[in-house]
């Protein structure tokens, strides 16, 4: 059985926790805690990006999150109507800067959100079309849904 849920929040950091509650409610009965934690981290980072970069931290804009839990994979989509991500940004996130204890310049977390998303999910795709920006992610599940 595939279960889906769609959630709409306002672009405020305080609202993001609500999404985590829904994700855990959907996945907790069927997925291991470590698996849910990775998906939750990817979701929070993706929504953070929408709030912080697409809407420049401005509240009052819509962010939509769709979750699709199938027996063998979890699909996650985050949509906003803000400023699109510059071309190539997602691909550039793969180039990880190794933190050097002696070089504070390498400690920055800027841009690490996309790296984290790519590390937590198996596929990550971005599309900006007709004023809607969509980050689509999926993760293959080690443990199938038993319900």
């Amino acid at each position: 059985m595939t279960r889906t849920i769609g959630l709409d929040i306002e672009s405020r950091p305080e609202c993001i926790e609500l999404l985590s509650g829904a994700l855990y409610g959907m996945c907790q009965p069927v997925l291991p805690a470590a698996e849910i934690a990775k998906i939750n981290l990817a979701m929070v980072e993706a929504v953070n990006n929408a709030v912080e970069h697409a809407y420049h931290g401005e509240p009052g804009h819509p962010v939509r999150v769709e979750l699709e839990l199938a027996p063998d994979r979890l699909g996650l989509r985050v949509q906003d109507h803000g400023q699109p991500m510059p071309p190539g940004r997602l691909e550039a996130a793969a180039a990880f800067v190794e933190p050097d204890p002696e070089d504070p310049e390498t400690w920055s977390m800027r841009g690490r959100g996309l790296f984290i998303i790519r590390s937590c999910m198996d596929t990550v795709e971005y599309e900006a079309r007709d004023g809607v920006n969509t980050l689509s992610m999926s993760r293959l599940l080690a443990t199938g849904e038993s319900a």
Partner: protein
């Protein structure tokens, strides 16, 4: 977000709790930077009760670490939950932050 603040032999020990995420960042960053500024710059962050952190939470730790280093101090992380530890390892920040499971060992490092 900040549960307790103790000082042992000039070393500040701050315990955080809950989620360290974008919504909490301005308040926590400001409080921790004030702690570093007003103290010796030697700080232990006890994260035992922090169940979730995102990259903006990590950016707070980095800011505080930079501020501490700027006054010849140091920051040690104590009691990481599995979720927080896995985020720190994912971003390889264990190469920057000293991490301890034992407060006495963290204090010995910062003395």
């Amino acid at each position: 977000m900040i549960l307790t603040h103790r000082n042992i032999e000039g070393i500040d020990i701050v315990s955080l709790a809950g989620r360290l995420v974008m919504a909490d960042v301005p308040e926590v960053r400001q409080k921790l930077l004030v702690t570093v500024e007003q103290g010796s710059g030697k700080l232990i962050l006890d994260l035992a009760e922090v169940g979730f952190m995102d990259s903006s939470g990590l950016s707070v730790l980095v800011s505080v670490f930079k501020a501490a280093r700027a006054k010849s101090g140091d920051v040690a992380l104590l009691h990481l939950s599995p979720t927080v530890r896995s985020l720190i390892e994912l971003t390889r920040l264990q190469q920057v932050f000293p991490i301890f499971d034992d407060e006495a060992a963290a204090l010995a490092r910062l003395r």
